[in-house]
Subunit: 207 residues, 3 copies
């Protein structure tokens, strides 16, 4: 199993995990199986899809339908089996942090490889990591969770993307940049969960 | 009048019908004429637009502005004349079922002709049929209606798309595949209205 | 300083202004800095981004990252300094009217230059002017403000776009068409603010 193949399987696992979080949210909203599949697939593929549309690349799940098969299959399984199979909440958060780091780093490197300016590349990484969740919340008619005060999530992803961009500018190898970026994003997110780290909040005007 | 011209006029009629449903929803929300036109056009053109963006095709209403003219004109007429002209609700549901079947089948065949994998082609058909309504609900700040428990709608469209995909794989003619797909989608949707057929719903965990 | 350079700086000022309105809305919703930056950037760049995606042009902030830098920088400044720096509400409305006119006219001319049909060109101008605000409201989980009864906003933009389209068809110079279009849109919007002009509203069916 080469590095590329390993990476491919890890990406599919990330897609399945994101789909699962979407289905659980759809269930909380009382949606039926159509809603569960739609929200699951939007959460799993939304970030990469928006990135590909913005960068005018072929959308990643159109040429290779494995991503669609995995997210749809996971959504259907999670819809019918969610009462039988349960992940412990803590494991769920850890897996989600790894997925966030993976998606963000891969999106950033993909944009850098396409020659976008540095801020655009970091932003594309961030979109790959978090836009699926934003789309999920919009389809569920909620304010996107990551826009509200809470533990670092998008900021952890942004820090990971920034690490990749800086190491790329300093001409480190792609592998090293990816590894460090992944560790920064995942580490910061896991630290935020453990130590309840929060970002700056809005200070209303005093009266 | 050849088949292509007939098809073109039927598509324009479908666009007008979808625009009308959008305007009525905008009215229920107390929107003004800007909201009515926006919701009407989004409902009418949203599905095909999202499909074209995902498949990196020229957006269908940009080269031929008839679609825009028809949906905008219908929206304005429906806004001012909705108190005068009324369709019986039952006729409305039947026309909507025909529109759903037509849009779904045409979207699926268009994706198959572009060489997309089978699951992607069916999904593109489904998007063409239902994504305009999802966009309408998001712009109206509602949970998309088709994600909530209710009579089969997206599932009827998905069945029609599946029929087209299977018949394409079995190398039947395009005309026959389109006809069967249309009958499956429209028939299932009309049966769902008549017999109140419903899809699987979410089973909350017991306490 | 040539005309092109002047235009470029005016566009950047418009982007900063739109970003500021987005941040203030995010603050009203109690969002943190992630939400403020996301809403600010979506308001500033959303209209032009949707236009570029629909027209299959390179998205304007991807090749030149100044727009991203300015909107992100403005959003961060507005987030931290909104209690210190305040624009008088009336000045804010006037600047917003100028931004609306500028974005609408530039979007219309861009579409005409790309050879789109006249209704599509006007619609692209309208999208450039108002779709950022619609995206802001969707991300804030509100019904888009411009769809609700109120003072003329989208209609003022549409009138400006129409003026550009008509003058283009009558083969006036681009500069003159842009100037008249700008005056129509900004003038109508400012008149709407001053004299409380409103568009047609929905007439519910009597019982």
């Amino acid at each position: 199993l080469g590095t590329t193949a390993l990476f491919y399987w890890i990406m599919l696992a990330g897609v399945a995990l994101y789909a699962m979080t979407g289905v659980l949210d759809a269930g909380r909203k009382g949606m039926d199986i159509v809603g569960a599949c739609a929200i699951g697939m939007a959460t799993a593929a939304g970030g990469g899809t928006i990135r590909d549309l913005l960068m005018d690349r072929p959308v990643f799940w159109i040429t290779d339908q494995s991503y669609l098969l995995v997210s749809l299959g996971t959504a259907i399984l999670a819809f019918f089996l969610h009462r039988v199979i349960q992940l412990p909440p803590r494991l769920f958060l850890i897996l989600d942090a790894l997925g966030l780091a993976l998606f963000t780093v891969s999106g950033t490197q993909l944009a850098l490889a396409a020659g976008t300016p540095w801020l655009v590349a970091g932003f594309m990484g961030l979109i790959t990591g978090v836009a699926g969740g934003v789309l999920r919340d919009i389809l569920c008619n909620d304010i996107p969770l990551i826009f509200l005060p809470g533990q670092l999530y998008a900021i952890a992803a942004a820090a990971g993307a920034a690490a990749v961009v800086v190491m790329h500018a300093a001409e480190f190898s792609h592998q090293l940049a990816a590894t460090i970026g992944f560790l920064v994003a995942a580490g910061l997110r896991l630290a935020a969960i453990t130590f309840k780290l929060r970002g700056p909040e809005w200070q209303p005007r005093g009266d």
